[in-house]
Symmetry: C2
Subunit: 236 residues, 2 copies
Amino acid sequence: MSDTSPAVTRPAVTLLSGGLDSTTTLAIARSLGLSCYALTIDYGQRHRVELAAARAVAERLGARDHVVVAIDLRRFGGSALTTELAVPKGRDPGTMTDIPVTYVPARNTIFLSLALAWAETLGAEDIYIGVNALDSSGYPDCRPEYIAAFERMANLGTKAGVEGTSRFRIHTPLIALTKADIVRRAAELGVDFSLTWSCYDPHPDGRPCCACDSCVLRAKGFREAGLADPLTRRPT
Amino acid sequence: MSDTSPAVTRPAVTLLSGGLDSTTTLAIARSLGLSCYALTIDYGQRHRVELAAARAVAERLGARDHVVVAIDLRRFGGSALTTELAVPKGRDPGTMTDIPVTYVPARNTIFLSLALAWAETLGAEDIYIGVNALDSSGYPDCRPEYIAAFERMANLGTKAGVEGTSRFRIHTPLIALTKADIVRRAAELGVDFSLTWSCYDPHPDGRPCCACDSCVLRAKGFREAGLADPLTRRPT
């Protein structure tokens, strides 16, 4: 991973799954001139193709470093993303208010904890995460009140926070955007959508299922933004 | 791991390093009749002997299950417990107010996040952690205000917490005890101290160094409680 910006650039840790939201978040952090340390968690997700997407995105967007940390959350179970539970299909974005079985217990808390550990080691104060509370599956760990509580806890539970050498901030630039807003913002920033991956349950041939919440929300975003998604465009 | 208590016993997740404090915490949770799910994190600690201690303790104290989750925090660095930084020796327990290089960035936040994930999956509301704010190295993530902030965040960031099916509680039965109090309480509960491990930097022959903070605090506890530590008793 290379970075053409000067070494004195302000560092930031950015959680990167390889999906549309985290990719856009990384692009936003880069557009602000931050030196981005991208963090991807290999938690045993069934849609492992997103790990390759994260690598491609980190490279293309010029992350200063990219770390993939492995932690096997399959041992705890409880989610369709890590076990053989069926991924729900064909849900209506307007009624995604109940929390589906694709919820992974405490996932963002685990991810943000690891981002916090890396940030403290780097001397970074800024942590970026692409959570979105509007066009989402209703996950509790994507809401502003949760993020604020995490930030408060982070500053009480770290050496840098307690000694006052750092004031950790959890940045959520997408939290109040619609999926269409996110697609438009990504397009403005020149994101190559073909590198990203959103589907929870890809076909064996590698195409997105186009029916899980993540596919449905992505399609809604592209449709409402009036743009074509290179991942679902039929080959000509 | 076996459990002779009935299957309807209330479940609890207990973080278990294999040290004196987490072992005593597990013994306390068991004495309350809880069905304990012991969670040990292999985070790349140099004093790997504590992982074997955790296994022995979980077995002896009748944990219903014991999971060792691996997550390599060496990738982030920043601590004498995971890198080649020298472990400080011979510090005075009365002056352990500065945070030493054995501090592992965000360690308890990562550990509690994983405990929370398992608890939510199990339907457990109670999480036990053996943090101690009094006779400690001054780690920020061992203080009551941090624990309270984590608990609040946990209930905002989980499905069970938000839907109200669980009210997660982080229990810290040792937080206000001296190390002597902890040794006495452990002795009352019949803890076999020979199974536990505290030293951060064991000699190559496997004996504790008797000079790191953890050894010094353990020795102070046994001395003030008027008990002998089987780990440091000279062979006769």
